[in-house]
Assembly symmetry: D3
Homo-oligomer: 186 residues x 6
């Protein structure tokens, strides 16, 4: 559906190109590890409809995630996709929590595959001494991500303190301390 | 698809009943306010395929949510549905956070309608002096819920401390204090 | 999918707004009873993508239906949605007919929930002495409605008499009498 | 998905056969005209998952409709499918009504194709002097049908008289007269 | 969804017309046999969203296929649809191959129906002495077709010889001979 | 939907397990290169619902494909999925053919991503001197595969010679020669 003869056509909110080439279906940006010198010592690099125009309407995308030793892809959800990962290198402690509040977790290592069901909170943590990396597949051209702590403590405008104190059963001071660490543009 | 002549048939993981009656399509359990004498001073009562068998395969359900003064339906997601609420009584501060980390929030009062997009973290808080209640509609026969704090700090087995310290940028002691408040079977 | 950075973008036949606010996700128009001083003594007020732009692509909507004593929401279908109702006040005799031509009906009262499966003919009638009202949830951003008698006897241009005489097994005079009561712009 | 190795398996409410043959994908029952010596002088013969087991999960089916001179396929809906017809022989006056209550109609003849959108009320009438027939395609393995007059005036148990008098703006006597013509098992 | 009040609107890559008429839902182009004086002695004529604008978003289409004696609709796939055919005249040897590499085949004659599951390679061959024709129904507004031999041996630019020699286990000379018969614009 | 309390339940043709563990969501079988000492000098190893039970209903799967130097994953289709690949090592010439019969091809190397749209014929060939490997993601729990030459020349029972001679414009002797190379159980 994404290959049409007319120009300037939009389908699904993205261009429906008149003349496609192989470049519309490929991406080189996952070849190298992402920079992990940040708070979470990890980096997610997407390969989705935003950098592969030909994926429009095709319902699939990928991402590469790199983790320095000690790094984490903190608890998050993808509102529009199930995720499945293949470990490129290293070792990761991964898990997701079911709607019955059961943690399903496992240590996975190079070559292992693990699936995180659609919409459920999940995480990966590199508790090893070496860098780790995975390739993730999604059943959405743009899965979207909500990183839980950043969403709750770093949104703009901020989520009200009294929502967070009650939700997490902590004091206002503690909420503000956490918020200070997720201040936008940090 | 949920009305068949054969007995003992399952469709979609739920019974496909041979003889249906109006009772398979109705539910009286939302008539009265749910009990709000709990931690969050709120109560969600579902009207989905678990108590309305005829909803199987039909893609819709409802819930009633009651909030005592000061009560909260803490930040949570529905992995399988968009939610739309109608305020039965009272006033609520509601909000959801987009994947661009923008808080979309509003004070809604009796008679107002508000929509929470599929999979996004959202909450409702009763900052008024009177009880509040909403009727929620979902585009799933069983939307599922992940209450964020309970999911992260109250799962069984527990999410590892070092995942939570790094995710929320807090100390182990603080994580354990929060966990103590979400201990299962509290 | 309905929140994009580019302007003037359309998705799904509706605007995909560049900057959204809480107003794009809320609607106050269901707060008060609709006017029921009409032929059917009832009024349907929609809360869908036409007045809540943020619902675009999200697959859900609501409506409020008011019924004066004796009022009816006459037999109709929604081509694109299952409906589930919650009774706000009063008492209603409701029903739908299955594809096996079985009437599934029940008297529902304040607080009851009842589901009408996708695409099936259904109705609600207030046989009580007091006004009644429901909040309806749909699994479509714009469910559409075909009110059967109005569709068949009030369409423009009119459905041919000989279709209706044969369909309803009545005479031309009777068809024309019914048509006169459903004349457009009445 | 409908071809599996295990026996006794059900998918989607229908058997998922262990060993399939060409007979599971074919049907000879549309070869001859259906008997039209009935009230509507027409006959619908389905070719769907009920007589072509291999169609299970495949989302498509067919039907043959025969019309004696003067015959009608009276106004009806398919809750789960769009319909497209090809005229095998004869000439038909066909139409559907939109949700804006506009009749879209046309006389179609041998070789013509016409589409009836999902869920909308539609009809075909043979106003010619010769028999007519169509082959219909549906995007559902079992589209389901609600023939409007039979649904409203011939359901079991019956739709209450006061629903029909008000809906059609006619008297109880007229309702009962119509009902007598749609009595079940006629 | 394809009937809107605004003009110049596109939905799904096709126009969403402001004012529709019956002509937007009909097509006369399947009335006569297509010309079969070609390599395959067969002709496929589509009745889809490209010539029936009203089909946009409705998920269904048709085609007529004519076969001279000895003609073939060579092995092909429809990437987006299941196909079901009704034999208008003549006799055909039809078949599809499952993902377990089993050929499901049958001789079908006038009036027979046969289904070809979504995405699987299938063919029809007229081994009789008379012309044959079918009407096909699809669960897509534009099913798309890949005729296998033409796809592999007639693409522009050409599929590399060494892909085809290895795939078919034949020599380069044989590949080039086949390619010469599928040269574009033949 | 795949985590239920009842035992012996089937959903979607696969078990819906009562008690799940991390093993239901993981698979170690992609860790090592598959054996490529075969006709095509390549090996596809799936990681789908057949070896990861927890994927049931989740719409995603993976595969690892290994290619010896000179190896090919010959032209094939996945009837139920789009595919996206990430090159683990080596270099591959890949391509797919559109429904307009245009070859979209490219040489991709370690770290590159390439997408093959749903249902279209595609291939990968290792024209380099070193082994190559990719990880593929699919938007189906079981995408299915039809390898074109094997499907047409190696099916059981065999596709009739006269279908293949006409389809490929070659002689019976040539067809039989190709068939001999795709004899089942070779």
């Amino acid at each position: 559906m994404s290959i049409k003869n007319e120009s300037n056509k939009m389908v699904n909110g993205f261009p429906c190109k008149a003349n496609v080439s192989a470049d519309d279906f490929s991406f080189a940006g996952l070849a190298n590890p992402g920079a992990t010198n940040n708070t979470f010592k990890s980096k997610v690099t997407g390969a989705n409809v935003q950098n592969i125009p030909g994926l429009n309407t095709l319902g699939v995308s990928m991402a590469r995630i790199d983790y320095a030793p000690g790094g984490i892809n903190p608890p998050h959800t993808h509102p529009r996709a199930t995720e499945i990962v293949f470990v490129l290198e290293g070792e990761l402690d991964v898990g997701f929590i079911t709607t019955a509040n059961v943690l399903i977790s496992k240590t996975i290592k190079k070559g292992d595959v693990f699936a995180f069901p659609r919409g459920l909170v999940h995480f990966q943590k590199n508790n090893g001494k070496n860098p780790a990396a995975v390739i993730a597949g999604f059943n959405s051209q743009l899965p979207g991500t909500q990183s839980i702590a950043t969403t709750l403590f770093g949104a703009t405008p901020p989520v009200p303190d009294n929502v967070l104190t009650m939700a997490f059963q902590i004091g206002t001071k503690e909420v503000q301390k956490i918020k200070s660490r997720f201040a936008p543009k940090m």
